[in-house]
């Protein structure tokens, strides 16, 4: 076996100590009718060949494209110190700090994570982490139901479609009611949450609303009127769950500033590679009065018997291993190592570096907007955005596919991601960060201009766009 320590003599010695002839004797307790067929898998692979195989598979993915894809997962510069620290076995091969005396490293790192994120969010209590932004959002929405003893939650259609899907799955399971608030169709606020509709739904006093879930920036990159949403929710006795992107909080008003009761979000942007979807970092936070409603582990500062400062998992009476069926959630394993990654990344960049990252992404986005406009491609919406926005492109799916062949990943085809959202049949969602280069932007604009020109010519000639791909 690849990592096993036992020599044949060791095995014989252990079996002899047990008075057994064969290891099969240890499985005599499995009744005959339940014994399995043999495993039909490939033979073991030596490390050298395994590495060849894995390098081959990794090489089949294309990660060399000029990418403008965001939509909930963002590429950022990560200083080498982040991954070098993460590769220390003392971090990644430890488990949950059940024995705090020999787990102070992990415990203090979680406390520091809670503190850093609390600073960013302007909220009091941050859980030790959840699976991802979507699961954290669902848990945040469930918190509002427990806190208000109401069973109806309103979610803006500006929230990431995957998150809305997960909300539906969780709420259906729990027997609670979730309904979507549409976006404004046109005008200067097009693409943001329809506040008039929100107010109307909140006014249904026969079905009082527990919580309102709004994303900032929203899925289309637009800035939402969070303060207004917060006021409307609170006037109806409901709570506001703000779904936030943590890097943006270096420059955007934090949830605490506009009165959010709960904040949830995806922490991947804080130094965690995109890695095709995870492991990511679910951020979940709340105000002090909600501390006993928040699910997941919490670490607090305390002292040991000598009065030394120390850290420990606390308020565990909320959790499944104590409360069982009455627990706030079934969550056990979380994302501690990713929380550490976020802390490392924030420590490496510092407050000024973080602001630079956010501002540089915004600056690149303005450059991209101008470059795309120069080839006749304009934004879909008029409102303010930070570093992501939707553009109108005729035959978006074909153009996107055509650009892929030219080395450009032209963001997201919105018709694929949100097929039921009106007015987005011909639109791409594009994004920039500090790693987007001027060359990338120039290439995107040039190739997009060329594809559109060719397709214009092709359309005249009666050929479908992207027929080449």
């Amino acid at each position: 076996m690849a990592y096993g320590p036992h020599t044949p003599a060791d095995r014989e010695q252990m079996l002899a100590a047990l008075g057994m002839d064969s290891v099969d004797d240890l499985f005599a307790d499995i009744p005959e009718r339940l014994r399995s067929s043999p495993l039909r898998l490939d033979p073991p692979e030596p490390e050298q060949l395994l590495m060849n195989r894995l390098a081959g598979l990794a090489g089949r993915n294309r990660v060399d494209l000029a990418s403008f894809l965001g939509a909930g997962a963002y590429r950022h510069f990560s200083p080498p110190l982040v991954d070098q620290i993460l590769l220390r076995g003392e971090w990644y091969t430890a488990y949950t700090p059940y024995q705090p005396e020999v787990s102070q490293g992990t415990l203090q790192s979680i406390y520091e994570y809670e503190s850093l994120i609390a600073e960013l969010l302007g909220l009091d209590v941050v859980s030790a982490s959840h699976y991802d932004g979507a699961a954290a959002t669902a848990e945040g929405a469930l918190m509002t139901c427990r806190a208000t003893q109401r069973g109806r939650v309103l979610v803006s259609r500006g929230v990431h479609p995957h998150y809305r899907d997960v909300l539906r799955t969780y709420f259906h399971g729990a027997g609670l009611h979730i309904e979507e608030i549409p976006l404004v169709g046109e005008g200067p606020t097009a693409g943001t949450t329809d506040l008039a509709e929100l107010e109307r739904r909140l006014g249904d006093t026969e079905h009082p609303v527990a919580g309102v879930v709004v994303a900032q920036p929203n899925f289309f990159g637009l800035l939402e009127p969070m303060a207004d949403a917060s006021n409307l929710a609170h006037a109806a006795g409901a709570q506001l769950v703000a779904v936030v992107e943590p890097v943006s909080l270096a420059v955007l008003a934090p949830p605490g500033a506009y009165g959010a009761d709960i904040a949830a979000g995806e922490g991947q942007a804080l130094g965690i590679p995109p890695q095709y979807g995870g492991p990511y970092l679910g951020i979940l936070a709340c105000t002090d009065p909600l501390v006993r409603q928040i699910p997941g582990r919490l670490v607090g500062m305390t002292t040991d018997v000598d009065g030394k400062r120390a850290y420990v998992m606390t308020l565990q009476a909320r959790e499944q291993h104590i409360r069982r069926e009455k627990a706030a959630s079934n969550i056990c394993t979380n994302q501690t190592l990713l929380a550490l990654a976020a802390s490392l990344w924030l420590a490496a960049l510092g407050p000024h570096g973080l602001r630079d990252v956010a501002a540089l992404g915004a600056a690149r986005a303005a450059e991209l907007e101008a470059a795309l406009a120069s080839v006749g491609v304009a934004r879909v919406h008029a409102g303010a955005y930070l570093n992501e926005f939707a553009v109108r492109v005729p035959d978006a799916a074909s153009v996107h596919n055509e650009l892929l062949g030219r080395g450009v990943l032209a963001g997201l085809v919105l018709a694929d991601a949100v097929p039921d959202e009106p007015g987005l049949a011909d639109a791409l969602l594009v994004c920039t960060t500090e790693v987007t280069t001027g060359d990338d932007i120039a290439t995107f604009a040039r190739e997009l201009g060329a594809v559109l020109a060719e397709s214009g010519a092709a359309a005249k000639a009666g050929q479908p766009v992207g027929a080449r791909a």
Partner: protein, 501 residues
């Protein structure tokens, strides 16, 4: 900081000094944010720490050295399977082709990862004896919720809406009853039989048209194979209910027992237990769920689809309306799954069978050594699987020393403690899981330490009751931590305890 002694650290916030820290990214143009509406801007900057790279690195390296970890020593934490985390797996997950791939990248540029995920599904199907697998759930408990939501969807699809109960043995992990609640179902707790196994009569009495599912951990949290599980599965199916298997203890049965073949309808797999993906100080994990024919239509979306031409794609939005929907964003914790894939390829069929054989051999060897000492109670002295229960009930009666004290004293011997006071059904329980990657010398040293502590309790109980003595800190004021929670750094609040430097 010296080379010896505990490396207690001030917080990052206390290390901060205005103006520290180097330029890691370029500066943006001054007017970069001018186009944002003023009312959307942040007014009060976040008070994040300003530290330079050497300070940050020393802080986190010194902190790391306060941890016990698999890389530093034996970690016999029952039900957690703290086995070796192979280094090649870390290399694999960091391959740029895997690490830098965007989760919404078109299928055409993600063929390597999609193939890996599809092959991993096939391997897990074979190991579980099931029909299909979802890789989406992010952890074991997340997998449980996925499975039970599928069970609900199955009953609902048949118009069978009266099934509101889940039967769970009282020895189960707390996640099982908590999962039932999250899925809108009621937990009925079933007591174990005297031999620690399933009480078939009690289950049969509780089964009925109101039963949605049973949740069984096999081997159980006592480390015992549920020998009556075949009869139980017959009874469950006769009652029209489904059977969920908590796969937390899969390490004990690879190649010996396939839950799907035996008749279970659904199970989760903890890759961070059985398939060596690192526990990361509490996570990440991954909790793939394997299902039989009845539940396949309800699997979360999107699934990985293999096309006739041998290419791979993800299901499109809305492609399979019977799905319970999404359990999380994107595809799943792919970075974890790459590691699990590497591990499965490394071992192959024969290696996996050997893992189970060696894990079970090690647990039985250790159990018998403790039983032979006559000092610890072994409530279930027969053959165990990958873990077993020892109890300090007799030691406590004689000396007043409890399981908690023994656990803390083990830390002074350089070992992590076993899982303690779980399962809840055994007094002064220690759940000990050595795993297949510990040598016989380590097992002997651990047994010797436990024996030495039991003897020490007879002559000097105080030293055990006040342990640990050599850890970076001594026992903590946990009651105080809960009474006055300090959950985040605030300069003024942090001053209440002295900074370690």
């Amino acid at each position: 900081m010296s080379a010896s002694g505990p490396r207690l650290q001030p917080t990052l916030f206390e290390l901060s000094k205005t103006g520290r820290g180097g330029d890691k990214v370029p500066h943006p143009p001054r007017d970069a944010l001018d186009r944002l509406p003023p009312e959307q801007r942040r007014v009060q900057p976040a008070a994040l720490p300003e530290v330079n790279e050497p300070e940050a690195v020393r802080h986190f390296v010194n902190l790391s050295q306060l941890n016990h970890a698999v890389d530093t020593g034996f970690y016999p934490l029952g039900s957690c399977t703290m086995k070796w985390n192979p280094k090649v797996n870390e290399w694999a997950a960091r391959q740029p082709g895997f690490a830098q791939l965007h989760p919404m990248a078109p299928d055409a540029v993600a063929q390597g990862t999609l193939q890996l995920l599809w092959e991993l599904e096939q391997m897990l199907i074979e190991i579980s004896g099931m029909r299909a697998v979802t890789l989406q759930p992010a952890a074991g408990a997340h997998g449980e919720l996925t499975g039970i939501l599928m069970v609900r969807a199955y009953h609902a699809s048949r118009g069978d809406t009266g099934r509101t109960e889940v039967l769970v043995p009282d020895s189960a992990h707390g996640t099982n009853p908590a999962t039932a609640t999250m899925a809108g179902l009621r937990t009925v707790s079933i007591k174990a039989a005297a031999d620690g196994g399933i009480d078939l009569d009690a289950f049969q009495a509780a089964l009925g048209p109101q039963t949605a599912a049973i949740m069984i951990t096999n081997p159980s949290t006592m480390g015992l194979f549920e020998s009556r599980v075949g009869e139980l599965l017959d009874a469950v199916h006769a009652a029209g209910a489904l059977a969920y298997m908590d796969g937390a203890n899969l390490n004990a049965i690879l190649g010996r027992f396939k839950p799907g073949e035996a008749g279970f309808d659904v199970m989760h797999i903890n890759t961070h237990k059985t398939f060596s993906t690192p526990h990361g100080g509490g996570g990440p994990g991954a909790g793939p769920v394997a299902v039989g024919e009845k539940l396949e239509p309800f699997l979360p979306a999107p699934r990985v689809v293999r096309e006739d031409g041998g290419t791979f794609r993800l299901e499109r939005v809305g492609e399979r309306p019977t799905s319970i929907g999404r359990m999380r964003s994107f595809v799943g914790s792919t970075g974890v799954l790459v590691r699990a894939y590497a591990y499965l390829r490394t071992h192959g069929a024969s290696g996996l069978a050997e893992i189970t054989d060696d894990a079970v051999l090690a647990a039985n060897y250790l159990k018998d050594r403790l039983a032979d000492s006559g000092l610890y109670d072994i409530p279930f002295p027969g053959v165990c699987k990958h873990e077993f229960i020892a109890s300090a009930t007799s030691i406590k009666r004689k000396t007043g020393v409890r399981t908690l004290d023994i656990a803390k004293r083990l830390l002074d011997h350089g070992f992590h403690a076993p899982t303690v006071y779980f399962p809840l059904t055994v007094d002064e329980a220690m759940l000990i899981e050595p795993t297949e990657t510990e040598s016989v010398e380590t097992l002997d040293a651990f047994a010797d330490a436990l024996i030495a502590i039991a003897r020490e309790a007879e002559v000097d109980p105080e030293i055990v009751k006040t342990a640990p003595h050599t850890a970076p800190v001594r026992r903590l004021d946990e009651a105080g931590a809960a009474r006055n929670p300090n959950l985040r750094w605030r300069a003024a609040v942090g001053d209440w305890t002295p900074c370690p430097d």
